[in-house]
């Protein structure tokens, strides 16, 4: 356990060694932006829209009362989406999608000696393979989460429009209410996202890169990557919430 942590820290150190050639690393970075970010957009928009829709229905039925104004639904949904659903739930989804993807990619490269091939050439394989993944995720995940927030609101709005559970106008009013807190909420959401992004890519890379064995272990590494990334996301979520919101 302590040995694994040491190896993980050492891995992070290797990432920050000087790149052999910047232009090649830049191209890797752009590739990873597409691989980790752009290719996740579809699932993220789908998830977020449905989450927003369900939240609106649940909140509206839960607080159905003459005393509580309709726009409360919009406000509550905004709170939940911004604070928890988009940054945390979507990050957990990404841990599943991106994490298993990274671990199996690196694991396969390990098993088929592609990583050895890089090392023999004199390439810092950790820096070359993992560095661009981590940096790309720090950059693109916050954008993905903003995108997710947008689709969440949209999903909620569509439900209001089609079911008239509350009037769309009231929903939008709720979303826009107490906007002086928005900055704090968004800062909190994006800070969480950046931390989660780092955890997902670095932990999954660790499991893939240090894999020992054959094809069977690639499957195990990918499962481990998802499980451990998720656990650490939950921990970090708790700690960050305590630090930032209390």
């Amino acid at each position: 356990m302590i040995k694994s942590f040491g190896k993980y820290v050492l891995m992070l150190y290797y990432i920050f060694l000087k790149p052999e050639k910047l232009s090649v690393y830049w191209k890797r970075f752009l590739d990873e932006i597409i691989q980790l970010g752009v290719k996740s957009l579809f699932i993220v928009s789908l998830m977020s829209a449905f989450m927003g829709a369900v939240l609106v229905i649940q909140t509206a039925t839960a607080i159905e009362s003459a005393w509580i104004p309709d726009y409360t639904v919009g406000f509550t949904v905004k709170q939940s989406m911004l604070l928890e659903f988009c940054p945390t739930i979507i990050s957990l989804i990404l841990a599943g999608k991106v994490g298993s993807n990274i671990a199996s990619e690196l694991g396969t490269m390990k098993v088929t000696e592609q990583i050895d091939a890089l090392e023999v050439m004199g390439v810092n394989s950790i820096g070359f393979l993992i560095g661009p993944k981590i940096i790309a995720s720090l950059f693109i995940f916050p954008i993905v989460i903003m995108y997710s927030i947008f689709f969440g609101f949209l999903g909620g709005g569509l439900v209001c429009y089609f079911t008239e559970i509350i009037p769309v106008k009231q929903y939008i009013l709720g979303i826009r209410a107490f906007s002086e807190d928005n900055f704090i909420f968004i800062r909190y959401a994006l800070t969480k996202t950046i931390v989660f992004a780092f955890l997902i890519t670095s932990i999954s890379s660790y499991f893939g890169y240090y894999l020992k064995g054959g094809a069977l272990e690639v499957g195990k590494a990918s499962t481990n990557a998802v499980v451990y990334s998720s656990i650490f996301i939950l921990f970090a979520n708790y700690i960050l919430t305590q630090l930032m919101l209390i």
Partner: protein, 248 residues
């Protein structure tokens, strides 16, 4: 020329290589032969620096490789080319990008120069008009050829081939052996080929190191190997009853 001196290597207490010394000569195909699991790959990985031996030294033309600073090691690495057992081509790169990769990473060549060098290397291994295919779209033999092209793209002085003809049919296997032999002479490289295939041994065995259970049991060349008395090697060379009968 590559010299190894007194190399030993253990993994978690199990000694895999025991005190191996040998000199691999320039312009020749030097073979490391032995049964599966005898330690051939581990020895090669110690030589190229993927493993660090517990004891022993590796010299690349008088440069004590294991003692070099990281930067100097990188310089030696640029003089190495390696062909791995499973080819180890980068899946996500096309044939052309695979061969171009070391050039892009380590040289200041322009795109036009790189492209010219890539085509030259690919032609040398008889891969024509396959530049934009991906490794998964090639046959095993073609993958090996592309991997050879990648290994020689930087004009290495030292070429390492781990079982270059494993998984290939006998005809293709011999073609690959011959190709390795030809380029070794042509570019005057110090080439090390790992094999357990007697056909290769008799075809290209200029200078042979035989290891059994991590111990050096014999050295010599393809002309001497048929008359050896060392028991382990005799059993290795004359595997089949048929061959033993032919011999006697």
């Amino acid at each position: 020329m590559i010299q190894v001196k007194n190399i030993s290597k253990s993994f978690s207490g199990v000694e895999i290589l025991k005190d191996i010394s040998f000199e691999f000569e320039k312009g020749k195909t030097n073979l490391i032969i032995g049964k599966s699991g005898s330690g051939k790959s581990v020895l090669t990985k110690c030589i190229v620096g993927l493993f660090e031996p517990d004891i022993g030294e590796v010299y690349y033309n008088d440069r004590n490789f294991l003692k070099l600073k990281p930067k100097e090691k990188k310089e030696v690495r640029k003089e190495m080319g390696m062909l791995f057992q499973g080819s180890a081509l980068f899946d996500s790169f096309s044939v052309e990008e695979n061969v171009a990769f070391p050039l892009r990473m380590f040289t200041q060549m322009t795109n036009a120069e790189i492209s010219e060098r890539v085509n030259f290397c690919l032609q040398r291994v008889d891969i024509i008009n396959k530049n934009s295919l991906y490794p998964s779209e090639l046959s095993g033999g073609m993958q090996k050829r592309v991997a050879i092209a990648r290994a020689i793209s930087m004009q290495p002085k030292y070429l390492f081939c781990d079982e270059p003809n494993s998984g290939l049919d006998p005809v293709t296997a011999i073609l690959i052996d011959e190709l390795i032999k030809e380029i070794t002479v042509e570019y005057q490289m110090t080439t090390i080929v790992i094999t357990h295939d007697m056909n290769s041994v008799l075809e290209i065995g200029d200078n042979i190191l035989f290891i059994d259970n991590g111990v050096k049991k014999w050295q010599g060349n393809k002309d001497e190997i048929l008359n050896v008395k060392v028991k382990e090697l005799y059993d290795f060379v004359y595997v089949s009853k048929f061959l033993k009968k032919m011999k006697s």
